[in-house]
């Protein structure tokens, strides 16, 4: 795993809640992504997956750890130096209704990115580039003069993707890019993302909770629980041979749109809720809900180790 395109090492993001309470949203996360690869990041709400994405792109200041993109550590760069790297990494947000400024035309929403990075050139050149980008994502050049409210959810998400693409990024973080969209539209966006990846050699960090979509999209998948990665493997391995009891429960909990599978499935229903990340359990974070938990799990933090070739899990019994 040497010289990966993206290398995240010991990343931590703590939020100080006051009264000496510290929320450890991302707690010592490490992974790497090769160029042109898609890493899926899954977990329940509150597990820290979105915070991890936002910290990597430096929307949040990391508490500790290193973030290296193409060999350069961006974790400690100052704001002004960071700008050069911003064009390498871009983000597609979850809610296409909230992430576009309603008072700007599409031309300005996408053009703003060009302006900031000085890629626009002349006014006519800026317009031409925006129109070219719009056509690349399956919209029309005429759409440039319209406002966000004139578009449907799927089209808005295409505009969000256009804005991210405008600065020729190499790495894109997609934070739940389809969860606000209708089922019949989701496939359009997923196909577009895969298409763009093939054409432009993009590297993706794909954050989602829809496990069947993540499996389809990703080469490798990492599962997060309470701020830590508990399992990571190639997506086929993870789905066919999950090692961590949490992954097993998560996989069995997803209803599959096939009555034959559903009726014969042995569902592992976890008891209770996600513990608070302010006071996580001692030892293994999952032990309070784990059907296999023993005394050892309360005493010792399980190591994140290779349990099978290229398959990592943090469980004493994996």
């Amino acid at each position: 795993m040497s010289k990966a395109f993206i290398e995240i090492e010991g990343l931590k993001k703590y939020f100080d809640l006051g009264n000496h309470r510290i929320l450890k949203a991302v707690n010592d996360v490490s992974f790497s992504i090769q160029k042109g690869e898609t890493l899926g990041l899954v977990g329940e709400s509150g597990c820290g997956k979105s915070t991890a994405g936002r910290t990597i792109i430096r929307l949040y200041e990391p508490t500790a750890g290193s973030i290296s993109i193409d060999g350069a550590d961006v974790a400690k760069l100052s704001k002004s130096k960071l700008k050069a790297y911003r064009s390498k990494m871009q983000m597609v947000f979850q809610d296409p209704y909230a992430s576009l400024n309603p008072r700007m035309t599409v031309l300005d929403i996408v053009g703003e990115a060009l302006d900031i990075h000085g890629l626009a050139g002349s006014k006519a050149g800026r317009k031409r580039r925006v129109e070219e980008l719009l056509e690349m994502v399956g919209l029309n050049a005429e759409h440039a003069s319209r406002y966000p409210h004139e578009f449907s959810g799927g089209q808005r998400q295409r505009i969000g993707i256009t804005r991210a693409l405008a600065v020729n990024p190499q790495f894109m973080i997609c934070d739940e890019p389809i969860s606000a969209l209708d089922v019949s539209i989701q496939a359009q966006i997923i196909n577009l993302l895969i298409d763009l990846q093939k054409k432009m050699g993009l590297t993706y960090l794909f954050i989602a909770h829809d496990l069947s979509m993540v499996k389809y999209m990703s080469d490798r998948v990492a599962v997060m629980y309470l701020g830590k990665i508990v399992e990571m493997a190639r997506s086929e391995d993870l789905y066919s041979n999950p090692q961590h009891p949490y992954t097993r429960a998560l996989l069995s909990a997803i209803p599959v749109p096939d009555p034959d599978v559903e009726e014969n499935k042995e569902r592992i229903v976890l008891k209770g809720d996600l513990p608070s990340p302010v006071s996580p359990p001692s030892g293994c974070p999952f032990r309070t809900r784990c059907p296999l938990a023993t005394e050892k799990c309360a005493a010792e933090v399980p190591l994140f180790r290779e349990t099978r070739p290229n398959h990592y899990a943090a469980c004493h019994y994996a």
């Binding site: 449907s152 496939a187 359009q188 499996k215 389809y216 429960a249 209803p255 599959v256 749109p257």
Partner: protein, 345 residues
């Protein structure tokens, strides 16, 4: 949940229901000529994308549509033979929460933050049943235990903010079940919850349905949930019912191009990455100006000329499956078998 005996009693009969909303831009025809039946003890899913009219259908059954701007243009909603649309508001209040219970999507906003959980469950009980305060309290404890909330005696004195999302949804279910309703309408009951919590709630609903023989209308866009807990499926598109059938008919033998498209646009767990998803192109029509013909016509690969001008009628395919599509018309089948299908695309 198995669909067992054939001759079950019809509980709910929705006939030719049309509801519109008068807004500034014109008349939004939210549902158009919707008919379906629910039998006793069966779980039926209504699926469709946002704006397809599934929630409006549920709210019309409960008479929760605000009028104006809403307007019930036509149709009947018969519950045990009684037309709910003809009842006065006072009579309707005896039905709501008593004969029909409702579970809403978001447990964070459907509970009153200023009332204890026990009081909120008791409210319906005292309204509909002649119980003393003590009897009502006993019943609340029993209900909380039924929906799997530990320490009900202390929990009933707590406020909603002291409960997690999954626990709050259990409270909402307890409220809906308080008076043993014969019909339970669940509008996206697990959309706001995480998958592991969703599994708990779905298990609970299945268990309760078996125990109490309640009919369930489950509104959802998640076909996985449908495959998990429903007996029958109603597919809605652009304000109309386009296909109905048993779960197996819909998943294994869908006949409407929209239903087929919906199933194909979902990735299967065994789908390879180089095998692309097949999306449905385009977007649903604007219901201020609903299409003259079939609502799905613009997005349909197999649309013919007749689809643009005439709304298709239901074609009965089996005792349980019917579909609203011109391709099922005997003439289209003749044309299709003589090989002219390509010409009509």
């Amino acid at each position: 949940m198995k669909s067992t005996q054939a001759a079950k009693k019809k509980l709910l009969d929705v006939q030719n229901l049309s509801v519109s909303f008068d807004v500034y831009a014109g008349e939004v025809q939210a549902i158009r000529d919707v008919s379906f039946q629910i039998e006793e003890g069966e779980a039926v899913a209504i699926v469709g994308e946002s704006g397809s009219g599934k929630s409006v259908t549920a709210q019309t059954i409960m008479r929760l549509i605000q009028m104006p701007p809403g307007r019930i243009k036509n149709g009947k909603v018969l519950l045990d033979g009684q037309d709910l649309l003809a009842l006065s508001e006072k009579e309707m209040q005896k039905v709501r929460g008593n004969k029909i219970g409702m579970i809403f999507q978001d447990p964070m906003t459907s509970l009153n933050p200023t009332m204890t959980v026990g009081k909120q469950i008791m409210e319906g009980l005292l309204q509909h049943q002649k119980l003393s305060a003590n009897e009502a309290k006993e019943r609340v404890i029993e209900l909380l235990r039924l929906v799997g909330i530990p320490n009900p005696e202390t929990r009933l004195k707590q406020y909603p903010h002291q409960f997690s999302g999954g626990m709050r949804q259990r409270v909402v279910i307890a409220i809906a079940l308080a008076c043993n309703p014969s019909l339970l309408i669940a509008d996206e009951p697990t959309t706001a919850l995480d998958v592991t919590i969703q599994a708990q709630i779905l298990n609970l609903m299945k268990e309760l349905q078996q125990k109490m023989n309640t009919s369930i209308i489950l509104i959802t866009h998640d076909l996985g949930i449908v495959a998990d807990i429903c007996d029958r499926v109603i597919v809605m598109y652009a304000g109309q019912v386009v296909e109905t059938g048993t779960k197996r008919e819909i998943f294994n033998n869908p006949q409407h191009p929209y239903t087929k498209g919906l199933l194909k646009s979902l990735p299967r767990l065994d789908q390879a990455k180089d095998e692309p998803l097949i999306p449905i192109f385009g977007t649903p029509p604007d219901l201020i100006k609903p299409p003259q013909g079939c609502g799905f016509c613009d997005r349909c690969d197999e649309a013919m000329r007749v689809c643009e001008t005439e709304v298709p009628d239901y074609t009965i395919l089996s005792d349980t499956q019917s579909v609203r599509c011109w391709l099922q018309h005997p003439y289209a089948k003749q044309a299709g078998s003589s090989g002219s299908k390509e010409a009509s695309v």
